[in-house]
């Protein structure tokens, strides 16, 4: 059976948001690699990655705000709300044989604009 990349990523985020770890396990490869380049953290393997998500602290929910996919890759943007604080998560997915093989994830944080003397930059 061929499942689209889009469907797999939608199921992945739904499983996490629902704390449905049985579905979650079926969507990721046994030797999945999860990488957080900003903190240089890495998790290897389905069970470790499941435990990481399952034990993630806080009373959080998430929703997918953007999802762009091709045949074997996807990029999603999520709004992650943890105890009323909202963060943006950006995840790059690589798939093989209808499961997620690798995730490279970024959590960009607010910063003050650098000093540039430009009339054409607005703040919102």
């Amino acid at each position: 059976m061929i499942t689209s990349t889009k469907t797999i990523i939608e199921k992945y985020w739904k499983a996490i948001n629902d704390r449905d770890w049985k579905s979650f396990e079926q969507l990721v490869a046994g030797d999945i690699i999860y990488i957080l380049p900003q903190s240089r953290e890495k998790i290897r393997g389905r069970l470790a990655f499941k435990e990481f998500n399952e034990t993630y602290p806080g009373n959080w929910t998430l929703s997918v705000t953007t999802l762009v996919t091709d045949e074997k890759r996807a990029v999603s943007k999520i709004a992650f709300v943890n105890d009323n604080e909202e963060q943006t998560g950006i995840s790059f997915f690589e798939l093989q044989n209808n499961v997620i093989q690798k995730i490279t994830e970024y959590w960009p944080t607010p910063y003050e604009p650098p000093l540039r003397n430009c009339d054409y930059i607005e703040r919102y």
Copy 2:
């Protein structure tokens, strides 16, 4: 003529890297919107956006490391090297009529890992 989203985004980054502002102008809509959510900055219009890029300080170069596209949207990851310092840029593109209509861009920065007592998280 139909040009693929992938080709348009590749040309866009090549034009910026080459300081080829004539090509750049042809790839973005007259009323393009460029948004930096982390600093809540916004630029409207082709000329303002061109000037923003043209006057960007430093002796920088960039290369595209990931590019995922569908019919009307794209996400790219670039390595932006400015005076030997490398940053990661993540850009979400929306296209209309073969030009770029909107760009939402993130510049995630390094952070120290949060304290979590987990054996399965490696550092690299």
